[in-house]
């Protein structure tokens, strides 16, 4: 039996707009998503914004009904047996909200614990254990109101809530989004520990490829509502074995990443992506076919030079999950 099974999930959001003339808008969020996650596996769902990651998470968390298809958690159907599913899953959505602002961290956890049927010494011990484990005790999380928490503390409290009832399956939607590197590392470490030592199954969504590569046993790449690649990180990397990843760092340019991307795409026909790294810096990542890397680097540098963008560094690097992602989605993040 798989810990998580998603079979041919479809979902279309229907929204109605306008007062007199009602316009119906249909957005196909999922177009047949299927994947399976083994017990004690850390599974990553990777995709650009609007790819359908959160829709999958909501269906698995019993917060949304699919139009078609089936999803099961530890063999329980999310549509027909939602109460059973809710007992064995721990869910974490956005870290910024989701708690009572005028309650302390301890009071918030106690509320959610009571709601899940925990009480007495068992609940107290569990809150104590989790606050300690996530470093919230040391940061004064017991007595601080939630509104006084830093973003890192909020994210930790969010994970603590998901773990409160010791669930078998954790479903986490971008748990490290917006966190400082130290907090993000602490949470990543904890998730791996939970899977390796406590046999928890973890499904994590992210568009942070570094994070997914670091902790996931298996990864699915989702784009425009479809799974476009599925496998271990090394299996996925083999998809770019015929390409050479090239990184070019450029600086002092007045264009946006999107404008630059459009300009380069007009000149060279390869998969590429541009990340803005602040203060006018940009990192251009190109997947050049083997044997053509030199020619392509010249072409890119030439284009950038003509539009006034200065190059700081250009180098060939080891392939990462990001390159797979760039190749499969043609670079849109």
């Amino acid at each position: 039996m798989y810990a998580i099974e998603a079979i041919d999930l479809h979902k279309t959001y229907v929204t109605k707009r306008g007062w007199i003339r009602r316009r119906v808008e249909r957005i196909r969020a999922l177009k047949g998503v299927s994947f399976k996650v083994k017990k004690a596996e850390v599974f990553g769902l990777l995709g650009p914004n609007g790819a359908g990651k959160t829709t999958v998470v909501k269906i698995l968390s019993t917060l949304l009904l699919p139009d078609k298809g089936t999803a099961r958690i530890m063999g329980y159907d999310v549509v027909n047996e939602p109460r059973k599913v809710r007992e064995i899953i721990g869910v974490s959505l956005s870290a910024e909200r989701g708690f009572f602002w005028k309650l302390t961290g301890y009071e918030n956890l106690k509320y959610f614990g009571l709601l899940r049927g925990l009480k007495g010494a068992r609940l107290e011990n569990r809150i104590n254990y989790l606050m300690d484990l996530l470093g919230l005790k040391q940061l004064g999380g017991y007595t601080k109101l939630y509104e006084e928490y830093s973003l890192g503390m909020k994210a930790r409290l969010n994970i603590a809530r998901a773990l409160l009832h010791d669930p078998e399956v954790l479903i986490l939607d971008e748990p490290t989004l917006g966190l400082d590197p130290h907090s993000a590392r602490a949470i990543r470490g904890l998730l791996v520990k939970l899977a390796r030592h406590e046999n928890k199954t973890v499904l994590i969504t992210s568009h942070n490829m570094f994070e997914i590569e670091l902790i996931c046993d298996k990864v699915a790449i989702i784009d425009k509502g479809k799974i476009i690649a599925l496998g271990t990180v090394s299996e996925l990397k083999r998809l770019v074995s015929k390409e050479v990843p090239v990184v070019i760092d450029a600086w002092k340019y007045s264009y946006s990443a999107q404008e630059l991307l459009e300009m380069l795409k007009k000149r060279i026909n390869v998969a590429l992506n541009i990340e803005e790294s602040g203060n006018g810096y940009a990192r251009i990542r190109i997947l050049a076919p083997i044997g053509e890397e030199e020619k392509i680097i010249h072409k890119v540098i030439d284009t950038l030079y003509h539009i006034g963008v200065r190059i700081r560094e250009a180098k060939i690097v080891e392939p990462t999950l990001e390159d797979v992602f760039i190749k499969l989605t043609r670079g849109h993040l």
Partner: protein, 273 residues
């Protein structure tokens, strides 16, 4: 977790959250105590606007205006809190972002939206009526204490018809997906219909008919009885209780098909934090 355990979990959790919230908002707790007196002054001002206190007694058909005005102040505050809790639960959870976590816990959407408003409503009614207790004892002695206790029990009883309604309102709030707190619009109208401001006999026929299906009307009538007699006529009192219980059965029976349909619609639409 079976259904009974789920119900108890919701009550326990909401009770704990409400008490903690009050503990951390001490100024709010202070104003909750003061509020019934402010509304009593408002009612007194409204009642004597067109004449003396004697005329007010005649118009309202009550023997003891002091007790009536104070108790009505308590009822008004309780009613506003109850309507706010019942109508606003889904919006409150959505604003806080707690809605997805509440719905993905074992009690689920229906039980949480149905039972969630009860603890807060009970506590706020208890605070409102406890705060007027000294005044009631001052005017009527031990009998005032007993009468306030009876009013509190009637208010608790009058909350029962609202359980089914609360889930339908919560569901509609989420389906419509707009951010209006309709409680703010409903409260004054409900209070007007209940007869707490001035007698229902002065209302137009249509509004008087509407007032018969509002549980709050019966609470106000019960208080009038308590303010008029030392010991209210047993049969009239029991009739009022009977109507409230009848409304509970009718409202909740009518709500059941709506509850099931609304839960499905809300989940098809999706729970957004």
């Amino acid at each position: 977790m079976n259904r009974l355990e789920s119900c108890l979990s919701v009550i326990r959790a909401e009770l704990y959250a409400y008490i903690s919230w009050l503990k951390n908002n001490k100024s709010l707790a202070f104003f909750m105590v003061l509020w019934p007196y402010l509304t009593a002054v408002f009612l007194l001002g409204l009642g004597t606007l067109l004449g003396s206190l004697e005329e007010y007694k005649v118009r309202m058909n009550i023997a003891n205006p002091a007790f009536y005005i104070i108790a009505s102040g308590g009822i008004m505050v309780s009613s506003i809190s109850i309507i706010d809790s019942v109508v606003g639960i889904a919006l409150r959870h959505r604003w806080l972002g707690t809605l997805p976590y509440v719905v993905s816990s074992p009690p689920g959407f229906t039980l949480t939206m149905m039972l969630g408003p009860i603890p807060g409503s009970m506590i706020s009614s208890f605070i409102a009526l406890s705060s007027i207790l000294p005044a009631a004892i001052y005017f009527e002695g031990l009998l005032g204490f007993i009468k306030i206790f009876i009013v509190l029990l009637i208010i608790y009883l009058a909350m029962l018809p609202l359980i089914g309604l609360s889930i339908i309102i919560a569901g509609l709030t989420l389906i419509i997906g707009e951010e209006a707190n309709i409680a703010a619009f409903i409260s004054p109208f409900m209070l007007l219909l209940s007869g707490v401001f001035y007698p229902q006999t002065l209302l137009p026929e249509v509004l008087r008919l509407m007032s018969t299906i509002i549980p709050l009307s019966y609470v106000v009538n019960a208080v009038k009885l308590l303010a008029t007699y030392h010991i209210p006529p047993f049969n009239i009192f029991m009739t009022i209780m009977g109507v409230i219980i009848g409304l509970t059965v009718i409202y909740n029976t009518l709500s059941i098909p709506g509850v099931i349909a609304i839960e499905k619609r809300v989940l098809r639409h999706g729970i957004h934090g």
